[in-house]
Amino acid sequence: MTRGAWLPALGALSVIVLWSLLASRLPPILLPSPMEVAEVAWAQREDLLTATWQTGKCALIALTLATAAGLAGGVLFLRSKWIEAAFYPYALLVQTLPIVAVAPLFVVWLGYGSPVAIASGAIASFFPILTAANVGLRAAEPEQVELLHLYGATWTQTLLKLRFPAALPYLFAGFRVAGGLAVIGAIIGEFIGSNGVPPGLGFLVLRAARTAEMGLSVAAILCATGLSLAIFGSVRALERRVIGRWHAGGST
């Protein structure tokens, strides 16, 4: 095994050992041991899987909405410097919005249920995608733009045949960040506005904490982390598949 592979494994093992030692000195109501968490996770695997699927679904819909809005914003900013100057500073405000404070408004507008989680996830993940689109759509080399101009390409042709493919490395970097934020946003949305039908991870964590089921609470948190990692990994795999062929060292 190479050093790159066994060092993280050693890190994980030491965290589990430390956690076990700490848990053995604290009452289980404060911190369950890794073994207790594993047992609870196995016993309630159906609830955890349903909740992970529910939150994952909301996060993916949120990510799709944020992608559509972020790309549309990037294209509008590219099309008009006036629109960019007028609206980009306010797009930054979206980044600074405290989702916890805004989610209750979504409850008022959308009612209790999945839409609150989706809206919170979309708001949380919008800005990295908008920024990636804004930078990426301008990333084509000036000579490439001149080339298309010389051959009479229309604005739309330049966008589709040059600017959009050239933006893909930036967009995928944005998706990697946005994926984790969409999960966090969806869980916050579930904290505030879930009706528990079906329960997501946020709902499960909150319910478990209220009923002092610490094992279930920790297991749900680990599922949320796994979900973020799965989205990150999926984006990375898609990135390799779509642009890995030409991007690595493709400095032409």
């Binding site: 010389l150 009479g152 030409w246 493709g250 032409t252």
Partner: protein
């Protein structure tokens, strides 16, 4: 002289800057290779972009021949996500030409530069010389009447560079399109061109107009010929 390109009292300035050149006039013959040499900042690349229609003069006129114009940049400017064939076919695609006739033109252009077997490769799978060949094929696919080349071989290693000069001259001999070639290498300019226009900077101006007059074809050994050396020395003295 059958004129292909004419600049008449052209003035050009980048926004907020002093004019790059004022009252610049010259003519380039149809079917010939005219080289533009000079120090950095003398505006020779800008002249190419004016002739390509990528820039507009602030005053004066730029006249170019009817028909297609093509540009070969210093970097091959290939789109890395497209295959060699798709890169070469891009100008046709942008003009809405597709189908078997467009494919045949792409195949012909690739064959002319010796890339027939590399059509499906991606740019990153090509060597530097092959990338430049693909760039030239893309320029030739529209059968241009005017080809503008901005230091096309300067990023290549010396051996590849000499080979590309010869390959390009062979292509040009076969079709005799009009070429404006910017080069910072005086020997290259003299080897390839019928005329060498020498520019000086600040403000950009034409300081010498040299008719090369060496017989064609011009093999690489000509670079060691005293006749070529004399012309190169005259251009260098004007710089």
């Amino acid at each position: 002289m059958n004129t292909a390109v004419r600049l008449d009292s052209v003035r050009f300035a980048w926004p907020g800057a002093r004019p790059l050149f004022e009252g610049l006039s010259f003519e380039a013959a149809a079917g010939g290779i005219t080289a533009l040499v000079g120090a950095s900042g003398c505006g020779k690349s800008t002249v190419l972009r004016l002739a390509a229609g990528l820039l507009q003069p602030d005053a004066g006129t730029v006249t170019t021949p009817a028909g297609e114009r093509a540009f070969v940049f210093q970097s091959p400017t290939l789109l890395p996500w497209r295959s060699v064939a798709a890169n070469v076919g891009l100008p046709l695609e942008l003009k809405g030409e597709k189908g078997p006739s467009a494919q045949a033109r792409v195949r012909d252009a690739l064959a002319r530069v010796g890339l027939a077997d590399s059509a499906e490769l991606l740019p990153r799978q090509l060597s530097g010389g092959m990338r430049m060949r693909a760039s030239i094929a893309r320029a030739l696919v529209t059968s241009p009447s005017l080809l503008l080349m901005d230091e096309p071989f300067s990023a290549l290693d010396p051996i590849t560079r000499k080979r590309m000069q010869q390959e390009f001259l062979a292509l040009w001999e076969a079709a005799r399109f009009t070429v404006l070639l910017v080069s910072h290498d005086i020997d290259e300019a003299v080897l390839m061109a019928d005329r060498v226009l020498v520019f000086k900077a600040d403000p950009g101006r034409l300081v010498d107009d040299i008719r090369v007059g060496l017989p064609r074809p011009r093999p690489p050994e000509l670079l060691h010929d005293p006749a070529l050396g004399q012309i190169a020395m005259r251009a260098e003295a004007a710089l």
